[in-house]
Amino acid sequence: MELLPQALMDGILLGGIYITIAIAFSLTYGVMHIIDFAVGEWIMFGAFAGYYLNKVTGLDPFLLLPVVFIMFALVGYLIQPVIHRVLSGNKGNPLLMGLVFTFGLAIMFQGIALTVFGFYSNSTPSVFSEGSFFIEKFGLSLTISSIRLAGLVYALAITAALHYLLKKTNFGLGVRALALNRESAGLMGVNGKQTASLVYGLYVGVSAMTGVLIGCILSVSAQMGTEYTIFAFFVVVLAGMGYLAGVPWAALLLGMVQSIFLIYFNPGHTLLAVFAILYIILLISPRGLFGRGV
């Protein structure tokens, strides 16, 4: 039992990483109904952007986050009309077409990354990477890594910022209206195309910033994207598709399950346990943990 506080803390810190991976992914599904299989690849490109910008400028990756956000938000904003065209076609099943299209994008992005960045794994250094806090009280010991704590703070900040944007601004009102009913929102003066482009830009920008963070905590490689796509998908399905408020809780639950299973049970079966839990929760509540998903 002496390991329990550490297990819980590690679970929370791991959950912080999962929040950053899934929050914008959930937003873009909620508004645009895109299940973007390229989410991991945006994270990967962001990780490389952080790695190279750090190499060139020597600035800490955390200081580079706004630069990476702007760069990628612009890319997302410009790409969105292409996705919109696929999704709004009158032939076939647009949702399925969107899935296939983003899956294709993911494969293409992986190939581009392998060709451009090479096949080696890298790591982005940060001033937070080297430190940790050690707490020893009441017979319990707890180690908190500075970089993971910074990651959790970043995750909570992004969640709060998105919450504010959606609930307290006119833009957010437009986004929510669009998510509820595209046609009615249009009749009320919401520019659907532009709002969707802005949301997709926001999503790509946030995902890229997450990549920078992951590059500092874990590693950077052209092959890294698939793993994060799976986790983003897991968290969003568990939270309820498109239900943004559920994402932090689902992410923390995933982090906790992984942490506790790695410590107390057979580590080799961690992913099996994680997906078994997802399966059981979806059997009981098909619309996610809170029954609020689409």
Binding site: A7, L13, F119, S121, S123, S129, L218, S219, I263
Partner: protein, 413 residues
Amino acid sequence: MKKRLLCTLALVTSLLVATTLYAADEAVFKVGVVTELSGSLATGGNVTKRGYDLWAQEVNAKGGIDIKGKKYLVKLYYADAQSNPASGAAAAERLITQEKVDFILGPYSSGVTIAVAPVVEKYKIPMITGSAESPLIWSNKFLYTFGTVPPINFTGATPIKTLSELNPAPKTAVILGSNDTFSKASAEAFKTAAEAAKIKVLKFNIVPAGQDLTPLLSAVRGLKPDLIAFGGHDEELIKLVKSLRQIDYTPKALLMHYGVTEPAFVEALGKDANQVFGASVWTNTAKTKSAILWPTAASYDAASMKAFNTPADYTQAGSSAAGIAFQVALQKIGATPGMSEAKRTELIKALEQVNIDTFYGKVKFATSGEYYHANVGMTPLTVQIQNGKTVIVGPKNIQEVPAQYPLTPWKNR
């Protein structure tokens, strides 16, 4: 009439060109290469590609393989296994049935090699893998599959033995292995060797491939092991070192395999890569001498620097040595491109008799026992990263420098 004449002329010309090309192709050894060019194991796969490419470039630069006074060029036909055994098997089948390759240079990973081996067995096409290290490949006794890197149960005991001779020797160990064929075999080899060296194994776990192991390492921290040994691949190794640094636990010794010898390991981790131990069979400082292609390990490394601007590690060297083994066996039986089934069987016999000194070391395939068709001519080495360079620290008789032990705490680096 004129139009018909022109058409006939065009047809005859294209037939002539096709025949010439076909004839030209006949004078070339078609070499299939199945390896992981994409997916999670792309790093190792591309390292093998460098080794195969360098061999083909060097052979062709010398005019080709000399068979009874006539030289034959080699042409590599790549097929991407996508880090997936099933894709690897399909890729091998395509190379054999459609490209009609003469022989195959095999995958980086053991998992893909085990999937490809039955395919080459079915079509009776010889294959040498320049990388795969799992004992499972050799215990299956595939007739058509060979390997230049010795299996991990042949090499894995050496670093543990080196560590057990240090002062004070590690008394306890935690051994982890990623959940894939090679990594599991590495972890098991470390465990067997640790138990034989009277090092108490406090924890032995096979962990999910590619995952963040920080929570598990937090638990390991509580056990305070002297040695942490990990079987995994390049990116997993980098993540593990970063996790240990993040939880601020420095064991007395950290042993990892495979990836320590890759230049990217040092580049990604910087000073944190220093003092990490690894297993190997070759370094660019190895005292080898050869009359075939490259005379020494240093000259091979220089060729690698020239071609790829990267120093070579043992996987790349083993891959080039796989090409050399084929080259020597082909010369011995006087095989020419487009070999018949009988000739390919003869090639297997010739490979079994290969006993050559190369820049990589001795290549000699076992013909019986648990290492059947694996290279047993090499001496296993314990390597350590010191000041960003891979150096040999064991066995004692070939040690270049003493091991740096125990590890300098992360905070003091």
